[in-house]
């Protein structure tokens, strides 16, 4: 079965979805993504998670940057803010600071997150803002028609690397672990059942949860992060993996050849909003 003939995940599951009541979380706009794009299964995963967790849709906000990935808010029926390239996390921090009750989901691409937005992740992580960051990693700039991203593999030919990319990619999982994120996981758009469980867990976590989602760009990357290649490279985390052991998580994250999916690391510490409340208590304040 060639890649382009691969059925779109949304169609696969349509019947099941309809029965589950998850359609409530889908917007009336059809995704403008290319047929076969990995992103479809992320929409499905988020609606699944909302349904599972019984989130009232007006109490959830999806914040995004700019990119194919960042069109996401238009395709779910939650409150949404499609912001600027790279600024999803600071905007999401503002939303959460304003209203403790909201479930805030931040979404964006690898360029959005690790190129122009690269300065914000460490701060969202250190503050432990209680939001979920879904990073759509297709290893390329999709919306601008296929340029190199900081997560592009060595050797990828793109319009801005016409003689093949020679820079080593960043290691996003090691970085986010080093930042002190309190929940770090990885999933793959081609494993939708696992993906939706991971999304659910990430949203359930209190604090900053980072889920790295490998997802093929079927239009602009025919050689590197394809369904075929990722299918071969993705593995499960070792069964004995201890998600409270940061060094073990870093060790797993270090392997960029064979890509482990699952929960790398989790810890519990006060969220930013909890910190605000402590501050108010110290100051003897109250509304």
């Amino acid at each position: 079965m060639s890649i382009m003939e691969r059925p779109v995940f949304v169609d696969d599951k349509l019947r099941e979805v309809r029965q589950s009541g998850r359609l409530e979380y889908r917007s009336r706009s059809l995704p403008t993504w290319c047929p076969g794009c990995g992103y479809f299964s992320i929409v499905e995963g988020v609606t699944y998670a909302c349904n599972e967790m019984g989130i009232a849709k007006e109490q959830a906000v999806v914040v995004s940057g700019i990119g194919c990935s960042s069109r996401f808010p238009f395709f779910v029926d939650l409150f949404g803010f499609h912001t600027l390239h790279g600024r999803v996390l600071p905007v999401a921090t503002g939303v959460k600071t304003a209203n403790d009750k909201l479930t805030v989901i931040a979404v964006g691409g690898d360029g959005d997150g690790f190129a122009i937005g690269g300065g914000h992740i460490s701060h969202a992580a250190k503050r432990n803002v209680d939001i979920t960051y879904l990073l759509f990693d297709n290893g390329i700039y999709g919306l601008t028609k296929g340029q190199t991203s900081p997560l592009s593999a060595v050797g990828l030919r793109t319009s801005t690397s016409p003689f093949d990319n020679m820079e080593q990619p960043l290691n996003p999982l090691m970085m986010v672990l080093a930042y002190g994120a309190s929940w770090v996981g990885q999933a793959y758009a081609g494993r939708p059942d696992h993906l939706r469980e991971m999304i659910t867990k990430a949203i359930a976590h209190r604090g900053f949860s980072y889920l790295h989602i490998l997802s093929p760009c079927v239009t602009f990357d025919k050689t590197s992060k394809t369904y075929v290649n990722l299918g071969l490279r993705v593995r499960e985390l070792p069964s004995g993996h201890d998600a409270t052991d940061l060094m073990a998580a870093l060790h797993q994250a270090r392997d960029q050849e064979s890509l482990a999916i699952g929960l790398y690391y989790q810890e519990s510490r006060p969220t930013l909003n909890a910190t605000f409340e402590q501050l108010v208590a110290k100051a003897g304040g109250g509304r």
């Binding site: 109490q59 600027l84 600071t97 304040g285």
Partner: protein, 598 residues
């Protein structure tokens, strides 16, 4: 009986406690019921022995600017003071150390520089300090006491301000400094007064208002608190930092939240996120930070999210002169965001205006669903003035944010509905039935991306037209004319901190018999076209004094009205000298030069 109008200047080096003395002085006289305006000059370095000057103008009714000439001048360090001694008015007093520690080279003692018309008061400051406190470090308090004694101010307010100021450093420091003050006070009362500087007693204050002394930044913080700011996001930068520093203490006490972000982009982004979620949100910065925020401000314009940005200008371009004042970020505040991205820009002209603009900015941001930039500058941020606050409570509408659309059953919620006044029903996350997605892309009434020609034209019109409502915003002075009514020879058209100097110059010109008027423009965008056009029509020639090189406000006025003004664009790094304005007014009144476009 003549009203009080006394300006006292204290000059010394960073280690002399000059600024501290000025602070005690202005607080004490304010507490006594006088009106004050005061501005300090610091050295740019963190450490060192740079020049410090604290100037305090004390009046019966609130004044608008410092005077060109001081009535009383104090030297705590002759090397710094000598170049400034000329600023004392004829018959004014110069107070200095009569017994320097070491012998001073010829020409290096201030007594050799005092003008013939000045009244010199040499007093043994160090000796008095040592005798009364056991050390020389209280010279600044000795001199304060001396001034109080000489001019006949009661010591009580000084003593309580000294106590308040030094109480953290322990009771010993308090009583040492009070002793220094007393020693000076006795010396002052014992001095035979030769100058003609007088304090006249005050009437009793009205009960319906409360007078406090605030710096511009403190007034902004107070305005934010009184407008019930929910969230503040900021990144330190001179001269805006103290807004955040004050709110960092005040907000948690009211259960509200402040976050120091990783940069200005984030500060702006988080403010917009909070505004989207329904909170009153603000940030504060200076020119360099404004540049970084400009893309985000454009997003707020497009997505119609309320947010307030305080911008305190300093010398530019680039890092420029961080500790000097300037009014050169007007262009960036008006035009910094790409696209047709007009938003509201207001600039207070005095400290009381800082308070009012701060509070009103939130009303406007929420009513017109737009970013509001409040333009200050270092001179305004750091200067102190007595401010009158209504005892009846803050004059701000706390509900501008509140009205939510109520939908009829089956009605579809349109976040960007095209309405008559351009203002659409705004809902926030949590409002069931009003689900929507906002975006920086051009969009249709529902908020869905659209790049159709008609939609873009309609939305562009909406985004601009809705702002016009701000020109009629309730209880807000958009522009105001002062001085002679009717036709005048010279009109002064001004904005921001320089307006106080314009008023002073206008009063002086009027006293010289020049028919003269002045208009302050507080709202710079949208522009109050009609009032300014009317004003200009009344003036033979219009002079625009401003502290920048390019004449940015003059360019704005000409761009909108297509009529020439005369520019007085200067970049002294300090307030525009009143005499520079007055000189131009005189020149123009003589008709030596008629209006030219440059």
């Amino acid at each position: 009986m003549k009203a009080t109008d006394i300006q006292i200047a204290l000059c010394g080096s960073a280690g002399d406690g000059t600024i501290a003395a000025g602070d005690i002085l202005r607080n004490a006289v304010a507490r006594a019921g006088y009106r004050v305006i005061s501005f300090d000059v610091y050295p740019p370095e963190i450490r060192g022995f740079g020049k410090c000057i604290s100037r305090v103008r004390i009046t019966t009714e609130q004044s608008y600017a410092l005077k060109r000439q001081s009535d009383v001048f104090v030297s705590l360090d002759d090397s710094h003071a000598i170049p400034h001694v000329g600023e004392v008015r004829p018959d004014g007093a110069v107070i200095f150390e009569s017994q320097p520690v070491a012998t001073v080279a010829e020409g290096h003692h201030i007594s050799g520089h005092i003008h013939p018309g000045h009244i010199p008061y040499g007093i043994p400051l160090r000796e008095l300090s040592e005798k009364s406190t056991g050390g020389g470090r209280s010279r600044n308090l000795v001199v304060l006491g001396y001034i109080a004694g000489l001019l006949g101010l009661a010591p009580e307010h000084f003593l309580s301000i000294i106590e308040k100021k030094f109480t953290k450093q322990g009771s010993e420091v308090v009583s040492r400094n009070q002793a220094g003050f007393h020693a000076g006070f006795q010396a002052g009362t014992a001095t035979f007064k030769l100058d003609n500087v007088f304090f006249t007693p005050l009437g009793t204050p009205h009960g319906s208002e409360q007078v406090v002394m605030l710096s511009g930044n403190a007034a902004v913080a107070q305005g934010c608190m009184d407008a019930h700011l929910d969230t503040f996001f900021g990144y330190p930068i001179t001269p805006a930092t103290s807004i955040m520093e004050r709110l960092a203490v005040a907000l948690p006490k009211r259960g509200a939240r402040l976050l120091q972000t990783e940069d200005e982009i984030s500060a702006m982004a988080a403010s917009i996120g909070a505004g989207f979620a329904g909170a009153r949100a603000a940030t504060a910065t200076s020119g360099p930070g404004l540049a970084l925020m400009s893309e985000m401000i454009g997003l707020a314009t497009m997505a119609e999210v309320p947010c307030v940005v305080f911008v305190s200008q300093r010398g530019g371009p680039s890092t420029g002169m961080p500790t000097k004042t300037e009014q050169s970020d007007l262009n960036a505040a008006l035009y910094g965001s790409p696209g047709d991205s007009q938003h509201i820009v207001i600039a207070p002209t005095n400290v009381e205006g800082c308070y009012r603009c701060a509070g009103k900015a939130f009303e406007m941001a929420e009513r017109y669903q737009t970013p509001v930039i409040v333009l200050l500058d270092l001179y305004l941020s750091n200067r102190y003035e007595t401010v009158t606050l209504a005892v009846s409570g803050p004059p701000f509408n706390l509900n501008a944010n509140k009205p939510r659309p109520r939908l009829e059953a089956g009605e579809v919620y349109k976040r960007y509905a095209l309405t008559d006044d351009g203002i659409s029903p705004r809902a926030i996350p949590g409002d069931a039935g009003c689900m929507h997605v906002i975006t920086g892309l051009e969009h249709n009434e529902l908020g869905r991306p659209s790049d159709q020609e008609e939609m873009h034209a309609a939305m562009s019109r909406k985004r601009h037209d809705k702002l016009l409502g701000a020109l009629q915003h309730p209880d807000f002075t958009v522009s105001k004319r002062f001085g002679d009514p009717g036709r005048v020879k010279v009109g002064l058209l001004s904005w921001g901190s320089t307006f106080g100097e314009c008023l002073e110059a206008m009063f002086m010109a009027q006293a010289e018999g020049i028919p003269c008027a002045a208009m302050k423009v507080v709202m710079l965008a949208p522009f109050p076209v009609q009032p300014v056009a009317d004003f200009m029509a009344d003036c033979d020639v219009v002079l625009v004094p401003e502290c920048n090189y390019e004449g940015q406000f003059a360019h704005l006025v000409q761009g909108i009205l297509a009529k020439p003004v005369v520019r007085l664009s200067r970049v002294p790094g300090s307030p525009m000298p009143v005499e520079a304005i007055l000189g131009e007014v005189r020149r123009l009144a003589r008709g030596a030069v008629t209006a030219i476009a440059s």
